[in-house]
Amino acid sequence: MSARWGMVIDLDRCTGCQACVVACQAENNIPINTEDIFHQRRAIEWIRVERYWEGEYPNVKARYIPIPCMHCAQAPCESVCPVYATYQTNQGINMQIYNRCIGTRYCAVNCPWHVRFFNYWEPKWPESLKHQLNPHVSVRSRGVMEKCTFCVQRIVRTEQQAQVDGREVQDGEFTTACAQACPTDAIVFGDLDDPESRVGQMAADTDRGYQLLSGLGTDPAVLYLKKIDPDAPEENGHY
């Protein structure tokens, strides 16, 4: 099916609860980020929630922004891979082929959003968690890059089911793990090319939309909706 999968993340709804991070971890067989791994600064989080401060003291506000892979249409990570281990699917997903990856890590070096991760160690799970691994997602070995796939296993499964049933994939029939887990519905996933889809409508209707680092010209598939702040001074954009 032709689509350009994308996401709309409404920062006005995001509470920074990290549910998306945990859901992604469970869905995509991401190794457990132990304290030790964090100290090594090698934690793998396909989606992460960054906290930043806005305003001057005493009117300082904590803000949260979830950052998954932007799935750029003109992705800087793709052209630097010597072996085509990262490429663009015809549905606009920036995909990583683990079997081809040799681990030059240039893609990660060239990614301004820091959403590509390297497996420095062989991934390990405690005995009690071995049976919770998702059978639809490959477990990556050490020495390869990995990243957000927009839960491609869910896309493929839904497409196959739709094909069996002889119908089109419906908008909202499935969603990514992060969007599914979000308690405030801040993350919405869907086909950006379809004007009838929920993301399509949100992207078209909003006057709060922006892309992260849009100035780089990579055309990210993730659209952020700006925080509504009644206390914000006029010149900073008041909604």
């Binding site: 090698r42 630097v80 681990g103 240039y106 160690w121 680092l213």
Partner: protein, 457 residues
């Protein structure tokens, strides 16, 4: 004009071939020490292959560290060979004669060492060779030529092939000389390598033409190799890496460190092999003068790189530049680079008295390379530490013991290979030296007669 002591042909041959026949105690001491370091190097490589890159100090935003720095450094050193032999050959600089062989060999060994590092540095080295150089053409899957990581091995291997051919062309007459003067396995080896050299006029002509052709052909490669290495960084989006000045800047930096390394090597050869009659003060003098120009050119680009960053007024670039220049530890490192690679050596090289002092030349040239290693680190690391404004992913880098062993091991490897080479091949080209003697003549300067070469034809 090169002054020289009149030397007899047979004496030259005997003296220059001495390292092949005599093995002083210091040689064995060096072999044992270097062998020890190389064992540690091999162990570190094995350890890293077995446990993975987790054993390095690399982390999430800092995916490249000591190994890439070391790669750039050794590629830089390799630029000495062509600088000395090809350019000086084409410009007919007489003083190059005793230096060319050593410089060319250093080029080849440092290129081999340099190429080892990107390979070790990949996550799955056992796959790297296969994917970057696919031999299984039936699959129809090729390397991606859009990326600099494919240009890079192509450029370096072209350079390696060119330099090896060039070195071999200049080795042939010496191989024939050795063939006629040796017995046993050496005789067999030299006979094969001499390719039936008889030293007749046609062979000399062909050898000369091949030498000139190869030096002319290598020249563009020489410029392109380090340009392409610089594009490994410059074509990326990283602030401060993404600079058009990187290519010429890296090339001149490479010449600076490479030619300094040749001085270090010359001083070592003079001491170890007793080549006082060949590697004379005037050679150090000439190469020192060359270095003053090269070092100043490098400094010019160094300053331009900073000015260009300010000129664009890109805030991301300015942030990293500020960190590089004013913040610990990079401010310290910057001062270190400045002092070691320019402020101390260049004023010293301005005086002929110092240029003709071998000890001073040895230590200043060594200093330059310490400074230039630090310069590469200074260029590469800060860009990664604070790449763009996502502060949660900012990090720092501390090399692990494995990476340190690899870096020290690479120095031991090049030194070890050079030592081995000097046991099998003459470290100074005998035929070049003889040719130089033939060109020399007694020249009347005022009341004094000087045995010197004005210019070769």
């Amino acid at each position: 004009m090169q002054e020289r002591h009149p030397l007899k042909g047979e004496a030259i041959t005997k003296e220059l071939l001495r390292p092949l026949n005599q093995t002083p105690m210091i040689f064995w001491v060096a072999v044992i020490i270097l062998g020890g370091i190389l064992t540690a190097f091999a162990f570190a490589v094995g350890w890293m292959f077995y446990w993975g890159l987790g054993t390095t100090g690399l982390n999430t935003p800092i995916f490249w560290g000591f190994m890439i720095t070391n790669f750039v450094f050794w590629i830089g050193i390799s630029h000495a060979g062509v600088m000395i032999s090809a350019i000086l050959r084409l410009t007919q600089a007489e003083w190059r004669r005793p230096v060319t062989r050593a410089a060319e060999v250093m080029t080849i060994f440092s290129l081999l060492t340099a190429m080892l590092f990107p390979f070790l540095h990949t996550g799955r080295p056992w796959r790297t060779v296969y994917w970057v150089f696919p031999y299984d053409f039936d699959r129809g899957i090729w390397p991606d030529p859009r990326g600099p990581l494919v240009w890079d091995p192509a450029a370096v291997f072209t350079y390696l092939t060119g330099s090896t051919l060039f070195l071999y062309t200049t080795l042939i007459p010496d191989m024939a000389l050795l063939r006629d003067r040796s017995t046993g396995w050496r005789k067999t080896l030299y006979t094969i390598l001499a390719l039936g050299w008889r030293g007749n006029e046609r062979q000399w002509k062909l050898q000369l033409v091949a030498g000139i052709l190869l030096s002319a052909l290598i020249l563009p490669v020489f410029v392109s190799v380090h340009s392409i290495v610089s594009w490994d960084f410059a074509v990326s989006l990283i602030p401060v890496w993404h600079a058009s000045i990187f290519a010429p800047y890296f090339v001149i930096g490479a010449v600076h460190s490479g030619v300094s390394a040749v001085i270090t090597l010359m001083a070592l050869m003079r001491w170890l092999f007793g080549f006082h009659n060949y590697l004379r003060e005037e050679h150090f003098d000439s190469i020192g003068r060359l270095l003053v120009v090269v070092a100043t050119g490098w400094m010019w680009f160094f300053v331009l790189d900073i000015i260009f960053a300010m000129f664009t007024r890109d805030p991301r670039e300015l942030v990293v530049m500020e960190q590089r220049i004013f913040e610990w530890p990079y401010a310290m490192l910057l001062a270190f680079v400045f002092v070691f690679a320019y402020i101390i050596p260049v004023p010293v090289w301005m005086f002929q008295r110092f240029r003709r002092n071998i000890k001073i030349m040895f230590w200043t040239s060594l200093m330059v390379n310490v400074g230039m290693w630090a310069e590469r680190y200074w260029l590469i690391l800060p860009g990664l530490e604070r790449k763009f404004e996502f502060t949660f992913m900012w990090s720092w880098y501390r090399p692990s013991i494995v990476e340190l062993t690899l870096v020290f091991g690479s120095f031991a490897l090049v030194t070890f290979l050079l030592l081995l080479f000097s046991k099998i091949f003459p470290p100074v080209a005998v035929w070049e030296e003889m040719e130089g003697v033939n060109f020399a003549q007694d020249i009347q300067v005022g009341k004094r007669t000087v045995h010197a070469t004005i210019r070769e034809e």
